[in-house]
Amino acid sequence: MNYNVIAYLVYIPVTLGLSIWIAKTLHRNTKAFLIEAFKGRDLTANATNNLLQTGFYLLAFGCSFMKMRIRENPRWENNRMIYDYLHTTQQTIEELAIKLGSFTLILGLLLFLNFFIMLMLPKPKTQIQQININDEN
């Protein structure tokens, strides 16, 4: 039970809680936008909203887990990388500050990315073109 595990135990709930909270607010707010964009077709608005939400969850959780590793002084010793762990409270606070700060920055960028992907989605086709072409044969 060293300082590394304590840092992980602080980092994981904060990052996961933040990403879940932001994902839920995104879900609620893009719902209104998509219902207006798809002009009353609730089914497709719900479907695209769920797709955007799962994409956001995946990216947020992925980036959070990828940045979790803490290694001090990595060095090579006979074909194996060896590193130290954290051993003072000051170091843990510094490393946690770096990790949490960079993750919240990335989360903000993901938010903008989600929003711009929603804006870049192709426009839905009109009702006239939804004739099933295979029936003519």
């Binding site: 060293n2 590394n4 595990v5 992980y8 798809f38 077709r41 089914l43 497709t44 719900n46 479907a47 695209t48 769920n50 797709l51 955007l52 799962t54 994409g55 956001f56 969850y57 995946l58 990216l59 959780f61 992925g62 980036c63 959070s64 887990f65 990828m66 940045k67 979790m68 590793r69 194996r80 762990y85 990315l113 992907i117 870049m120 989605l121 192709p122 839905p124 086709k125 073109q129 939804q130 004739i131 099933n132 072409i133 295979n134």
Partner: protein, 121 residues
């Protein structure tokens, strides 16, 4: 011994999320593709096709990524390996998901356009 624990937990975490997320995407992709491409049969067929392709490719990637693990010496390294590898799997899943969401309707509409041109000629 630590390696085996790490492999089991990592494989179960990543495979469960890959298949579960795949089910969610399969359910929602039906309406999304039908809204973007005007053909109902083609959008359903391409949705099923994308679902099977997604499951195959991503579970294969999750299995293959297990190869990058070196010998682990204590529980700290076990935790680090599990979280790092599942993080990479999730991030690649999310990136591919957004790319698919943007590009798949365009490719399907290209096929529909070509088929319409061929049928009218």
């Amino acid at each position: 011994m630590y390696n085996i624990i790490a492999y089991i937990i990592y494989l179960s975490l990543s495979l469960i999320t890959v298949l579960w997320v795949g089910k969610i995407l399969h359910r929602n992709g039906k309406d999304y593709l039908f809204a973007e491409c005007a053909d109902k049969n083609l959008s359903e067929a391409s949705n099923n096709f994308l679902y099977t392709g997604y499951c195959l490719v991503n579970s294969g990637f999750a299995f293959y990524f297990l190869n990058t693990c070196e010998t682990l010496l204590n529980f700290n390294e076990v935790i680090e390996f599990i979280f790092y590898s599942t993080g990479i799997i999730y991030a690649s899943l999310g990136a591919m998901h957004f790319v698919n969401m943007l590009l798949a309707p365009k490719i399907i509409n290209l096929f529909i356009h070509k088929r319409n041109i061929n049928q009218s000629v």
